[in-house]
């Protein structure tokens, strides 16, 4: 009796496993209309890899929700050329190996039209090397990394950058430091990989010398005692002005260790790690952050007088309820906004090729929240190329110096830093692709 029961149990479980296997082998297209590379008559499928959990995830894990919220808003208002946009989100935990595996799924199984806003310098490099979207002709739009190398069309033929490069940021920051803090002793915290190397190149080219340079291995911010050693190195070197050029979690860890150790130089926060709500969530009181200098290319999230910010706030309230509005939301929605502009511009006959052609042709005129020009053309995959500076106030909001956004632009080469006269395109009615 026991034996037959056991056998029955075994047969049933084996059948279950085989059944599930078969189910998984049936392509998902079998259940929906045929799609060619992520596009059907009624839908567009996009994909993103981003850290949703793990050391580097705070802040960034809000971006996909913001993107989906804007896509939902567009879908509820007729979609793009009659197609609804969906976004497949894959969590790569900011780990290159996982980014490769997850991107394989997006490209080979989900067959997305394009990757949109994949995050991380090393992750995108690993994906470019292994999955090779360039060779496959898969667009990699608006990568969430400021590594200057991604603008290299020969090496990354289908990749479009959106953030100003770290070299640009360092060059513009150098000009600012020279103007405001001449003669002060300078300190720098940077990530010891291509992200940091890019920044170092920019500072070196601008002739800014740091008395103390503290490199950190990515991930070491998660080791309890490590950030304390950075701060003591900076304090010991007597740095009066300290540039924190790291990811959010490293910037937060450095600030928290300084707060605990009562070390308070003039902080300058890089754009990558300078999101106030992420810092506040990491136990850093806004009062400690007040007076720090920050930089951005988009309007301040607190600036409700700005058309785009106001739209994004409304969309966030309605489609992303309960999630606090901050710079990550602005970044996510702006990426989604740019994506919709590109999809709209590619027209009814949407393919991977027509999408990239549309960005090459019209990308520099796309509407977006950015206060800085976009530089797309047949020969350039460079997105924004500048920054404005501001100071964090007592409630943690970044307020533009002098009450207005003064934008400085430059390039990743040897070009000079110049004050920009650019005015961005007005927002299309209701922020929809009309």
């Amino acid at each position: 009796m026991i034996v037959t029961n056991r056998r029955k149990f075994l047969v049933t479980s084996a059948a279950l496993v085989v059944g599930a296997l078969t189910l998984s082998a049936v392509p998902s297209q079998a259940f929906s209309p045929r799609s060619v590379d992520g596009v059907t008559a009624t839908s567009i499928k996009l994909g993103i890899t981003i850290p949703m959990s793990g050391t580097a995830s705070p802040g960034y894990n809000k971006i996909p929700g913001a993107m989906k919220a804007y896509f939902d808003y567009v879908n509820d208002n007729g979609g793009v050329n009659g197609r609804k946009v969906t976004l497949v989100v894959e969590n790569d935990e900011y780990v290159p190996t996982k980014a490769v595996t997850k991107t394989n799924k997006l490209v080979l199984r989900d067959k997305v039209l394009a990757l949109v806003g994949p995050l991380g310098t090393s992750n995108n490099q690993a994906v470019a090397q292994k999955v090779n979207p360039g060779k496959r002709g898969v667009p990699v739009l608006f990568v969430n990394s400021g590594f200057s190398g991604f603008a290299n069309k020969a090496k990354y033929p289908t990749t479009y950058t959106v953030l100003p490069s770290y070299i640009m940021e360092a060059k513009i920051m150098s000009a600012y430091i020279k103007e405001k803090f001449a003669g002060k002793k300078l300190g720098l915290l940077y990530q010891d990989d291509d992200f940091g190397d890019d920044a170092l190149a920019g500072f070196k080219q601008s002739g800014v010398d740091f008395a103390v340079k503290v490199p950190y291995a990515s991930g070491s911010q998660g080791v309890a005692t490590t950030p304390g050693t950075w701060v003591s190195a900076l304090a010991k070197g007597g740095a009066e002005v300290v540039v924190l050029f790291g990811v959010s979690s490293a910037t937060a860890a450095a600030l928290y260790a300084s707060y605990v150790g009562k070390y308070k130089p003039q902080w300058i926060l890089g754009s990558v790690g300078g999101d106030a709500t992420t810092l506040a969530a990491s136990k850093i009181p806004p009062s400690f952050l007040a007076g720090a200098i920050g930089t951005s290319f988009a309007p301040s999230p607190a600036d409700a007088t700005d058309d785009y910010i106001k739209l994004f706030m409304d969309v966030n309230t309605k489609y992303n309820a309960g999630v606090p509005f901050d710079n990550n939301i602005v970044q996510g929605m702006n990426t989604a906004f740019l994506t919709v502009q590109a999809l709209k511009s590619a027209g009814k006959n949407l393919t991977r090729k027509s999408l990239m052609a549309a960005i090459d042709k019209n990308g520099s005129k796309f509407a977006s929240a950015g206060l800085v020009p976009l530089n797309y053309s047949a020969t350039s995959h460079v997105g924004y190329n500048g920054y404005w500076f501001g100071t964090y106030n007592a409630s943690g909001a970044l307020v533009a110096d002098g009450g207005k956004y003064t934008v400085y632009t430059t390039d990743s080469g040897s070009g000079a830093v110049a004050k920009s006269t650019y005015t961005r395109p007005a927002m299309p009615a209701k922020g929809l692709p009309n």
């Binding site: 496993v17 189910l23 190996t97 595996t101 080979l108 199984r109 690993a126 090779n132 010891d192």
Partner: protein, 336 residues
Amino acid sequence: MRAVHKIKSNSTTRFIFFIALGIVLFLLSNRVDELRVYQGAEIAVYVIAISSLILLTGYSGQISLGHGALVAIGGYAAAVANINFHVPIWLTFFIAVLVSALFGALLGAAAARLSGPYLAGATLALAVGLPSIANQFTVLGGEQGLTFDAGMPPASLGEDFTVYKWNFWIAALATLAILWLLQNILRSRYGRTWRAIRSNDVAAELSGIAIGRSKVLAFALSAGIAGLAGACLAMLVGTVSPSAFPISLSFSLLTGAVLAGVTTLGGVMIGAVVLVAIPEIADAVANRFGGSESVTSNLPGLLVSALLILTVLLVPNGPVEQMRTIRSRKGVASHH
């Protein structure tokens, strides 16, 4: 004389079997789509890693809860050799084997003094601690890890020959070579020695077996093979990083070994296929029935655990061993 002849023909049969298996895999890799080829390469990596664990635990009786760390050492050895010493790619695989075997020998020397839960604890600590060392040294690339570019397939294979197929070929070749090697070693004097130790170490020692040396040898060999799995994994994903070798990797390998039947190499394929297929099945099930993100991320763990419990309950020695037992029982019955 007859016995000698039988052993010889057995080993020839085995060799032919492996060649045939290789041809089948080769033909298969030309039939299935690219994602399946990639998953095939993943399975090959798991087969190598699990067989190294079966060698250690199933045959020499030493438990390792930290085999992921040895896989990590292989991966890092290959990447560092390639990046810092510009060693050609094919040679990095051998370096990975050597470095991790050396590390395994050191570890084995310590492990030979430990047994049971103490050994389990020591190896577990290794899996927890070792990968995070990379976070402290820039030469190891920190959390972001190192790039390991194993190169594109030779141009002579044609324009449409994908890099994943190339990686699959390499990994499958390594797998077949390792399995063939292991089959032969386990049937040799060493294999018998290890089994003797596992069954009863006092009796083995009384029979003149140098227990310590045998155990260290098993550990070094197992570590070397795990290192090869690490190099193949690094090739397949193009990078190595601490988080690619989490503690859960070690547990997965152990689970795979148990599902395969830890005392026999015959079922190693089953364990590897299950490990790769389960997340896929979980994904499909969750998508089909509209599960939430938290369901999708927890379902694979649940399925693997359920399978593990079922295996231990129903076929504690693994499905292959079970089939063998049933067959021999039937054989006995038919003689009556």
